[in-house]
């Protein structure tokens, strides 16, 4: 099951974008240039209520765009992407920030890790903190990261060195899980807990990142306090909660209008699990 021909995998890059004009076109182009080229990466830009030219820029590069009628926040945008991936039969979905922080050049490496470690990994994510992060990460950010890292590593029983990294690639099981349930804001840490609760396996790949495309980090000081409190509460409550949505729940009613062109997509996913 795990040795699907690489060229038959349907690959989707989800690019959440909120007022990322000036950046998003380049991100889309960079993704399209990555291996494998043959079917290649489809790019979905989820426009989260932008008021600038994000949509036009993305479309000019041939990306599919879906647009929220108003801003839902990063969690809602990502979940829209996963719902799209699920409805359209994608085998792999990767999230790449629209602000240029994530370097698409790592996509092949991540995809290889997802495939070659197929028996062990349902999600591969790029970590900045096992080596050189590639840019100067603010101290506060690093400290917060360390706290989450310690807590998550303890809960999951494996080292999670960069729990706030949003550079993530999942297989079909990950897509199904996230399409059904995805945290609202600051979703990265909680998403790892969700994977863990469903016994989906996580694998790390070393990456470097760019500092945010624009100077504005999405997290400043008043917010970082909220961030810490919110995520720690979510972790704590998450431990008390039974699995958010059991993986064997009946599929959500996402209509599949178009049967995938190749008949191969139907059986992918659901591979040999326990």
């Amino acid at each position: 099951m795990q040795n699907e021909d690489r060229n038959r995998l349907r690959l989707l890059a989800i690019v959440p974008g909120y007022n990322e004009a000036g950046m998003v076109a380049r991100v889309v182009r960079d993704i399209q240039r990555q291996e494998p080229l043959d079917p290649g990466w489809d790019v979905l830009v989820v426009d989260d209520g932008s008021v600038d030219d994000t949509v036009a820029e993305a479309e000019s590069q041939g990306a599919m765009v879906i647009r929220h009628p108003f801003n839902l926040g990063i969690g809602g945008a990502m979940q829209s992407g996963y719902k799209y991936a699920l409805a359209n039969g994608y085998d792999v979905a990767v999230q790449v920030d629209g602000d240029g922080q994530h370097k698409p050049e790592y996509l092949p490496v991540m995809l290889d890790a997802l495939r070659t470690t197929g028996a062990e990994a349902d999600m591969v994510y790029g970590t900045r903190f096992r080596g050189d992060p590639g840019y100067k990460v603010p101290v506060g950010r690093r400290a917060g990261n360390l706290i989450f890292s310690v807590v998550l590593s303890a809960i999951t029983g494996q080292r999670i060195t960069d729990p706030t990294s949003g550079f993530r690639m999942v297989n079909r099981r990950g897509i199904e899980l996230f399409a059904r349930d995805y945290p609202h804001d600051y979703p990265e840490v909680e998403a790892i807990l969700m994977l863990n609760a469903h016994h989906l396996r996580i694998h790390e790949v070393d990456v470097r990142m760019n500092a945010r495309g624009f100077g504005r980090s999405s997290i400043d000081y008043p917010r970082s306090a909220y961030y810490m409190a919110k995520v720690l509460l979510a972790i704590f409550v998450g431990l008390l909660r039974r699995r958010p949505v059991p993986m064997d729940a009946p599929p959500i009613e996402l209509v599949e209008e178009e049967p995938p062109p190749a008949s191969s997509a139907a059986t992918a996913g659901e591979g040999g699990t326990s």
Partner: protein
């Protein structure tokens, strides 16, 4: 004395002025609530909550015996403090209830927005159009012009 004063409670609880204020205030409040329902600014479900809460509080402020009983039960010396406590507790519970309702609404709103976005994307895919041509923001165009105005140069999907 009379049955009336028996019902209205005895000295030491709430003075006459306080009771008048409680009754007048509650009546005004009830009128406001009912008017909001009349103008469809408030659904009956929440109106009932507020009406019940208001009635409960005004009954307790009039019926000294009941209030004193509750105060004794709670171990509160001054009955009027029991009234404050109950009023505060009622407001807390209502506020929590609304937070729960807001949470549910925001979840539902999120799902709706995602569905709208998905359907919108699906429709554009079927029509072979893009968003870029549009000038109206946030999809509030009454009806996209049929056939023209949205044609896009190229779509390279599938």
């Amino acid at each position: 004395m009379s049955a009336a004063s028996q019902v209205l409670g005895a000295v030491g609880d709430l003075g006459v002025q306080a009771r008048v204020i409680a009754v007048v205030g509650t009546v005004l409040f009830l009128v406001l609530v009912i008017d909001l329902v009349r103008r469809r600014r408030l659904v009956e479900r929440y109106a009932l909550l507020w009406i019940s809460a208001a009635i409960l509080l005004v009954v307790l402020s009039l019926w000294g015996g009941g209030l004193r009983g509750i105060a004794d039960g709670l171990g509160i010396r001054t009955p009027v403090n029991a009234l404050f406590l109950l009023g505060l507790a009622t407001v807390f519970v209502l506020a929590l209830h609304f937070s729960v309702a807001f949470s549910r609404l925001s979840e539902e709103t999120k799902i709706l927005a995602q569905e709208v976005a998905r359907l919108d994307g699906e429709q554009r895919r079927l029509r072979g159009t893009t968003l870029s041509g549009r000038t109206l923001v946030n999809g509030d165009s009454p009806e996209p012009a049929e056939g023209e105005g949205e044609k896009s140069p190229e779509r390279s999907e599938t």
